[in-house]
């Protein structure tokens, strides 16, 4: 593909030093996103989706340490950039929508002022102009009566409205890359649909690349052009959406799809994923962290993970991937 990349993450590894040992949260995570593209990072809780985003944004917990890797944003390696440089990029060219807007918003500052703060910092606007622009942003994200709502505090707004405020704040400085960490978890499906439409519309309008983090496979399939599946801190499969759902090759991806209620016609058709995530504090973690729960484990799985390119864009980190036309055909048909 000729389109330029918005972000290229290469072999990112992150560890957390904790009292009970070193947690190897990310292991050689690599993926990239083109300008204007929407990709989804999916996986169960504890798979490292959010840690990836936090590492790229340079907002890891102090106990977290990037032990390896690069995150190239244009010519800049975000993981090696100075804090001052990062602060200039963060909120401006790269911005993030956090999972829980109620805790991510400042409770003692009006929402209009919080959006204005972004504009003052990154667009170098004077306060008065920034406040007017903040009202415009609130209007853009579909808040009725924005002039009045701008002076409201987060606790005065509903969950859906707080999420819109977060989006307005994230998009105020017209970023080129947006990271949306579970932007609709905890919202009703009707609100979720509206919020996701809004992000998609604004992304198209601004030509913005979007990394969308979710545990909802169905939602990811609907919104992203490419899906990166994570398990226990490793990327197990990375494929265009249609390929992934039509023909998942990694056993874990297949299990995950089969466990999603939407794929089944009957409750008995749903299959649970055997085993659980390995303890990431272990010093003897196998190269493939899924291998201990994997029904397709072979001897070769003890060797370092491969990055098998299936065709062009479809990459699977597995020594014994599922054959073509395995169990997943029905996932698409049943919907």
């Amino acid at each position: 593909m000729t389109t330029a990349l918005a972000l290229r993450v290469e072999q990112l590894s992150v560890e957390f030093r904790t009292r009970s040992g070193i947690v190897r949260a990310l292991d050689n995570v690599s993926f990239s996103i083109r300008k204007g593209e929407t990709i989804a990072l999916v996986g169960e809780s504890g798979s490292g989706k959010s840690v990836t985003a936090y590492a790229v944004m340079g907002i890891l917990d102090p106990a977290g340490l990037v032990t390896n890797g690069r995150a190239m944003f244009g010519e800049i390696d975000l993981l090696a950039a100075s804090p001052r440089r990062l602060a200039a990029i963060r909120g401006g060219e790269i911005s993030m929508i956090f999972q829980n807007p109620r805790t991510a918003l400042n409770p003692i500052r009006s929402v209009g002022r919080q959006i204005a703060d972004v504009l003052i910092r990154h667009a170098k606007m004077p306060l008065r102009k920034a406040l007017l622009q903040a009202i415009e942003m609130l209007r853009t994200v579909g808040i009725t009566d924005p002039a009045r709502r701008a002076s409201a505090y987060p606790f005065e707004l509903s969950g859906g409205m707080c999420q819109r405020v977060m989006i307005a704040m994230a998009l105020a400085a017209k970023p080129t890359l947006l990271i949306a960490d579970e932007p609709t978890t905890g919202l009703d499906v009707t609100t979720q649909a509206v919020i996701m439409d809004l992000i998609a519309d604004l992304a198209t309008e601004l030509g913005m690349a979007t990394i969308f983090i979710t545990h909802d496979l169905a939602l990811a399939s609907q919104r992203a052009t490419r899906i990166v599946v994570m398990h226990a801190g490793q990327v197990v499969e990375n494929a265009p959406t249609a390929d992934l759902f039509g023909q998942a090759r990694h056993p874990y991806t297949a299990e995950l799809i089969a466990a999603t209620p939407d794929s089944a016609a009957d409750l008995d058709d749903l299959a649970a994923i055997p085993g659980s995530l390995p303890d990431l504090r272990r010093s003897d973690l196998p190269p493939c962290r899924y291998s201990e729960r994997c029904p397709r484990k072979i001897e070769r799985c003890a060797q370092p993970l491969p990055q098998t390119v299936i065709d062009g864009e479809h990459v699977v980190a597995c020594w014994n991937p599922l054959p073509v036309h395995a169990r997943l055909k029905r996932a698409i048909g049943a919907a």
Binding site: E44, S45, T144, S158, G159, G160, M161, D188, V189, T190, T191, Q192, A193, V194, M196, D197, A200, H215, D216, L217, A218, L219, S221, Q222, R223, A242, F245, E255, L256, I257, A259, T260, P261, D262, S263, A264, D266, L267, D268, L270, A271, A272, I273, S276, A331, I332, A334, A335
Partner: protein, 353 residues
């Protein structure tokens, strides 16, 4: 089918204190006039039945009154109006405090939303499951221990975990404790409030299948409250759709989700993400719901957000009307019913369903 629980015209209002008209209220009070607090109509004139052995789903947005309705029918709060009959016995008149010691308390049990928050952190799994048995069945000693171990294994909870505290267990294990606690006293009706909302899909599957199996073994009725429609579709026989304190549609779960008739249900179903569906050109709800505080009883609750919103909708609130085995509260229900039943119009009316 035998009716297990029969709700008729159940309402629950909450008075709200502060508001923009506080000054007016104060004036009225000072001038000696009657004071009337504004009320939130959390549940407004709701009637339905749950049959023996049936699984009924209750869906709707947050704030629509699902939880209040559930608390009213499990008799954790007192209703403002209406009747709740368990079998032939009227429960609505008993104050919630009195019902807590009633002989029928054991017949309606509940599994709460987040098992992590709803289990006493100072109780071990054993104590959590034993608590209702001690209080309602006055079980002691060996009989108690045997019963706790029996339900624990029925719920797939290893006996070795019974001495653990909630924080020492995984989300799936806590969910099992919550279920074991609820079924320990052999209820006839189990009310499940989003039992899998906090769980990952892989664990969710296991818990849903456990619930299905328990229902077969024990012959309980379920009231399953959720906003995850794909789960409701798999688990429930019948579904009730609630919007701002009212039931707007009810009927067999599959039929309702395949061909929703009420405009709100249509929007709700359209909003559920599905595999391989491109999220374009679908019905979207605009704006916020109407205020539940002293709503005008002559206006449809959905007016304003509804794509139809005709002039009739703001002069007369639609009643829940019956069409075969389904009920819909919309003045324009006939149009949808006819459209959906006639296959010629179906494709044009709603191409994605």
């Amino acid at each position: 089918m035998t009716v297990l629980l029969d709700l008729e015209h159940v309402s629950k209002f909450f008075p709200v204190g502060a508001g923009p008209d506080q000054l007016a209220r104060l004036k009225r009070r000072l001038s000696g006039g009657p004071e009337r607090l504004p009320k939130v109509y959390a549940v407004d004139n709701v009637s339905f039945v749950i049959n023996k052995g049936e699984t009924v789903g209750l869906v709707g947005e947050s704030g629509c009154g699902k939880s209040t309705l559930v608390r009213a029918l499990t008799r954790l709060v007192d209703v403002s109006d209406g009747s709740i009959k368990l079998g032939t016995r009227e429960l609505a008149l008993k104050p919630a405090r009195v019902f807590a010691r009633d002989r029928d308390r054991a017949r309606i049990q509940m599994v709460f939303q987040d098992a992590g928050d709803s289990i006493n952190p100072r109780f071990t799994a054993f104590d959590a499951i034993a608590d209702p048995l001690r209080r309602l069945r006055h079980a002691r000693g060996k009989a108690l221990k045997d019963r706790v171990e029996a339900v624990a294994s029925q719920c797939g909870l290893p006996l070795a975990l019974l001495s653990r505290f909630p924080h020492q267990m995984s989300g799936g294990q806590r969910a099992r404790v919550g279920i074991a606690r609820a079924i320990a006293v052999k209820p006839d009706l189990l009310v499940l409030d989003e039992p899998t909302a906090a769980l990952d899909v892989s664990v969710q599957v296991i818990i849903l299948q456990l619930l299905q199996q328990l229902k077969r073994e024990l012959g309980m009725s379920y009231l399953f409250v959720s906003h995850d429609l794909s789960v409701v579709r798999l688990l429930c026989d019948r579904v009730l759709v609630m919007y701002l304190g009212k039931i707007v549609e009810s009927g067999p779960a599959r039929a309702v989700f395949e061909r929703p008739w009420h405009p709100y249900t249509q929007a709700l179903v359209a909003a559920v993400p599905r595999f391989g569906d491109k999220a374009t050109e679908r019905l979207r709800l605009k704006g916020e719901p109407r205020s539940p505080i002293d709503p005008d009883q002559n206006v449809c609750r959905f007016y304003g957000r509804c794509p139809i919103s005709a002039s009739d909708c703001k002069t007369k609130a639609p009643a829940l009307r019956r069409f075969g085995n389904r009920h819909v509260a919309c003045h324009f229900a006939e149009e949808f019913v006819v459209q959906r039943i006639s296959p010629v119009h179906e494709a044009q009316a709603n191409p994605q369903i």
